[in-house]
Amino acid sequence: MEESNKNSSKSERLEVLKTYKMYIDGKFPRTESARYYQPMVNGLSLGNVCLASRKDVRNAVVAARSAQAAWARRTAYNRAQILYRIGEMLEGRSQQFLDELVRQGVDKETAEKQVAESIDRLIYYAGWCDKYQQLFSSVNPVASSHFNFSTLEPVGVVFTVASRTCPLLGLVSLIAPVIASGNTCVVLASETCPLSAITFAEVLATSDVPGGVVNILTGRIEELTEHFSRHLDVNAIACDRLDSEVNTKIKEFAAENIKRVKTYHQDWSTDAAASPYFIQDFCEVKTTWHPIEQITESGASY
């Protein structure tokens, strides 16, 4: 850069800094609280990042709830294509994610791997959208004249506390399985490395993901724990290895409306960090009984 500037006859160009905002209901608002924090990496500030408030959590949950039924009603094929599309968009912007990971203190080689793996993970879960149902559903041979079957349905709105240390791959690895089945989510980005999450929101915004399906907040877990884990319109919480005190607090508050809490201690770079069981973790089993008329004892014959 410096070299090329020297050679150029033009005056040095001033870099345009990016404003990191949150992502709620398909839009990029600043926090309603107008507060900010400055995550530091190696003594350098990453910039002014929104410090989400209780009201932001509530707004995001409202957006997620409003979007949920329509997202779940989409065909599995359509959700698959949209997840694939997220992967496509991420691929096209991989350089930006690479640069940002490095800025957030990830070494270049690891960053390259993580960006590639994040793209592949989206493609992986895109493929599951129209397959997990067949894997986890059942027709149950009840001892009466009924057609009885169990299928999976999305649990609803999932609050997702993303990995602190794996800002892109950890984020993608939880969002993808959560939304694959028709859930919507509110994600709290890594407090120390929030840039990847915000830039990922830009990918989502250009990937045919309906507004409100994924909402991304930045801020402090300690400040927001009570607000999301007591929120009565959140059905489930996905946590990535928080310290045990915060975890306990989340689980205690979650009991107020029997939220399902899943805590992961995954190294997201391994193969074991991706499976349809992550989709199943945020689904409910619904069993349906339907009578079968018995007119004749002879049964069908060929």
């Binding site: 894997l135 059942s138 149950n140 041979p141 009840v142 001892a143 009466s144 009924h146 009885n148 169990s150 349905e153 649990v155 059905n235 045990s244 306990t248 607090k249 989340i250 689980k251 205690e252 979650a254 009991a255 107020e256 409306n257 029997i258 399902r260 499976s275 069981y277 409910e284 089993v285 619904k286 069993t287 349906t288 009984w289 339907h290 009578p291």
Partner: protein, 482 residues
């Protein structure tokens, strides 16, 4: 002639009690033996239909819980977790067979102790309990086929707390999958209905299970809490009220215990104008008056499409008038005794609340026995969505009726509850059935039927009705680590 208030003139047909054997006092079942603790604390288990004392039950102390968990741990670390699945399964098969062999005894004791009609304990509770044991017995050596690309392994010691509405059946629902997957068990039956669980312990002993694989401690809520919070319990399974479920979820928040909760419900039973009305009436009756309404998945909110409301309610009242309320041991009885004085008071309070809130009250005028705890089949019409009887679980024979005009309206009303255990839909139109069943936020949905259960059929709730499933392949994962 109107048969509305006429009595079916049936001779009494009581099931005999001569062939059952009950001890005067039951100790706790720990490490394969019945033990009577030195502290001597006991409480009485009564017949809710007569008030007569059936037996004295041990009020366990923390000492017995301690011993039971230690026995379960020793059994887990010892023989049970190392035993092959095929052998484990054979123990469960044996137990299932023994329950079948002694089904009459179990049915009579269940009706004596809990107040439910013998027709239900004989035809539902006991056969389903045996079927559940038989079903999971077969899974024990097939677990590797159940979870593709995963290696299942047992969790350890399961602490299980069960309710009083289906005492033996709930014990089987808890014990069967736990043992099939290689865990060991500490189970606490509800204080008003401990007897069939203790009789089951006798069978477990007789079947020759290794000591400590199943341990049964009796007592009140604090005993259940001691089990749930015991640090050497790895897995908690609870069936009961949402209120207690929340306490449990909170109390184990700081641990790594696995947990499944099967909690309360306030199910919507929805009847469209194109339904077969007489069948729907049968389903409504079965939905709310089965087991005196002591059913977490009871169809306690009836939604009737406006155009058939009057006709349906008239038929329903007529059908209610034919229900025989009385001696649980009589084979003609449809509605038995309320399980306890405490539960009767709760139900009566809700009936008062319903009247005060302005809903229209209707009750059949059948005679009730002079002793024991009884409630006539009860109906409230003109119920508002905001009424407490439409929102809170009553756990008694009280039906709250609302009306609706459109599909969209009834979906909204039916789902507008923190609960999500079950739902019912009555219509002649297939596509409407599947629209409704897919829109209901409930774990079990019955279409043109109600209150059916099967060991192969996963059961459990959405939302505040709990999490995890019991029954079927899906019921296995609650007892496995991967």
């Amino acid at each position: 002639m109107t048969r509305k208030n006429s009595k079916w003139d049936l001779s009494p047909a009581p099931e005999g009690t001569g062939h059952i054997s009950l001890k005067e006092h039951y100790g706790v079942f720990i490490n394969g033996e019945f033990q009577t603790p030195d502290h001597g604390n006991r409480f009485q288990s009564i017949n809710p239909a007569t008030g007569e004392v059936l037996a004295e039950i041990t009020e366990s102390s923390s000492q017995e819980v301690e011993q039971a968990v230690a026995a379960a741990r020793a059994a887990y670390d010892g023989e049970w977790s190392k035993m092959g699945g095929r052998e484990r399964g054979k123990y469960l098969y044996r137990l299932a067979r023994m329950v079948q062999e002694r089904s009459r005894e179990f049915a009579v004791i269940e009706s004596l102790d809990g107040g439910k009609p013998i027709r239900e304990s004989r035809d539902v509770d006991v056969p389903l309990a045996a079927a559940h044991l038989f079903y999971y017995a077969g899974w024990a050596d097939k677990l590797n086929y159940a979870f593709p690309n995963r290696i299942p392994r047992a969790i350890g010691v399961a602490g299980q707390v069960i309710p009083w509405n289906f005492p033996l059946l709930m014990a089987a629902w808890k014990i069967a999958p736990a043992l099939a997957t290689g865990n060991t068990v500490v189970l606490k039956p509800a204080e008003t209905t401990s007897l069939t669980a203790l009789k089951l312990a006798e069978l477990i002993q007789e079947a020759g299970f290794p000591p400590g694989v199943v341990n049964i401690v009796t007592g009140h809520g604090d005993v259940g809490a001691a089990i749930v919070n015991h640090e050497d319990v790895d897995k908690v399974a609870f069936t009961g009220s949402t209120e207690v479920g929340k306490l449990i979820q909170k109390s184990i928040a700081g641990t790594n215990k696995r947990c499944t909760l099967e909690l309360g419900g306030k199910a919507a039973n929805i009847v469209f104008d194109d339904a077969a009305i007489d069948q729907a009436v049968e389903g409504i009756v079965n939905g709310i008056y089965f087991n005196q309404g002591h059913v977490c998945c009871a169809g306690s909110r009836l939604f009737v499409q406006e155009s058939i409301h009057d006709e349906l309610i008239e038929k329903l009242k007529h059908r209610m008038g034919t229900l025989i309320v009385g001696d649980p041991l009589d084979k003609n009885t449809d509605v038995g005794a309320i399980n306890s004085q405490q539960q009767l008071s709760t139900i009566e309070q809700y009936i008062e609340v319903g009247k005060q809130e302005g809903a229209e009250f209707y009750q059949t005028d059948c005679d009730l026995p002079s002793d024991g705890f009884w409630c006539r089949p009860t109906l409230f019409t003109d119920v508002a969505q905001s009424n407490r009887i439409a929102q809170e679980e009553i756990f008694g024979p009280v039906l709250a009726v609302q009306t609706f005009r459109t599909v969209a309206e009834v979906i909204k009303k039916a789902n507008n509850t923190p609960y999500g255990l079950s739902a019912g839909v009555w219509t002649d139109k297939g596509s409407k059935i599947f629209n409704m069943t897919s829109q209901m936020k409930a774990g079990v949905v019955w279409a043109n039927t109600y209150n059916l259960f099967d060991p192969t059929s996963p059961f459990g709730g959405f939302k505040e009705s709990g999490f995890g499933r019991e029954g079927g392949l899906h019921g296995l994962s609650a007892y496995l680590d991967f």
